[in-house]
Symmetry: C2
Subunit: 210 residues, 2 copies
């Protein structure tokens, strides 16, 4: 394991490119999501190894629900399966998303709005499921708090799949985040991609605007 | 002029690197800001040429006010000077920022919270002056509206100075923005940098998360 001086406390992960990966590899678009689960656990293991204390993974969003029914079913099933597998590991899980919409998977309601510990709870994992940035900010209107208020500032945001945008990922927490873009699609995850992001982060000058 | 098929409606501009440019060129840090005014007008002319209808420039933020007094004075003076020069051009100016703080320059109060037309008003120019993302979002708590509610969604965000982060730039409007990073410091602005950003934007796939 490489020694790094500066480790981000909270990493955001946008695991994009599942559908493009599927099409390129001769699958149907919706088949890509299932290939995105194992990479998530590889990344989880690396995060434990490098002492990352918190990570937020983009599951799916309200915007994503505009997609074809077979894709919606596939990404929802992948999120449920990921949590099922995570429950055998060592993480404290918080699911953040709009549970009042029918698009929110019932299987994950037990993890929404409060953190649930698995095993030795070695990392805080936040999972955005049926998340919607407008819904999140609307919490400010309703009771003066973000719906995602339990999730702290993001230090490093890593996006797979080459696009250079937030796509609505935690707008309030991402205001000072350093963005690292990986051109490969998420199912082609490699540990070196994550290590390159951590190495790049070593040299980012954190100023919080000051 | 190069023909481009896809022109962003609204461009965000983070003109970073003035202080680093100054130090590298043998000036004091605070001297960099004055060298950032002329590049702004070069970019303005290019925007008119390419039919950009709206742009938002990052002036300074509440976070920036933590800097040394001579820097604060210099970036405030540069913002005031930029508006003075713009008043002889063809733009509709809206200044957005916290006017209730002493850090807000009195000379710009006339342009805050309502748009003022100059000349033939060929572009909407928004200028973030003493802007603070928390203040902006607090509008949602106070009356259900962002303080920056007059500013629409950002399509393309161009940042000079190599850093890959928003630094608090319009969090709600930037959720779907494509980020283009230019490594050169802002006072080293070149038209080709802007054209490269526009060319890159041609191939960005706008999905709004769908």
């Amino acid at each position: 394991m490489e020694q790094l001086k500066r480790i981000p406390s909270h990493i955001g992960v946008i695991p994009d490119g599942n559908r493009r990966w599927a099409v390129r590899n001769g699958y149907k678009k919706q088949d890509g999501y299932a290939f995105g689960i194992e990479p998530g656990f590889q990344l989880y293991e690396l995060m434990l190894e490098y002492g990352i204390r918190e990570a937020t993974f983009y599951g799916f969003t309200k915007d994503n629900n505009k997609r074809a029914a077979e894709q919606r079913e596939a990404f929802t099933a992948a999120c449920v399966e990921a949590v099922k597998r995570l429950s055998g590991r060592d993480a404290n899980l918080l699911v953040v998303g709009n549970t009042e919409s029918p698009a929110f998977p019932v299987e994950l309601k037990a993890y929404a709005n409060h953190r649930v510990g698995f095993g030795r709870g070695r990392i805080n994992l936040n999972f955005l499921v049926n998340y919607d940035w407008k819904w999140d900010l609307n919490g400010l209107k309703e009771n003066g708090r973000l719906k995602s208020a339990e999730i702290p500032r993001v230090d490093l945001l890593i996006r797979w799949g080459g696009r250079r945008r937030l796509s609505g990922f935690l707008p309030a927490q991402s205001v000072y985040a350093d963005f690292y873009i990986i051109h490969d699609y998420w199912p082609d995850f490699q540990p070196s991609q994550f290590l390159d992001a951590l190495r790049w982060y070593q040299d980012c000058d954190v100023t919080l605007g000051g």
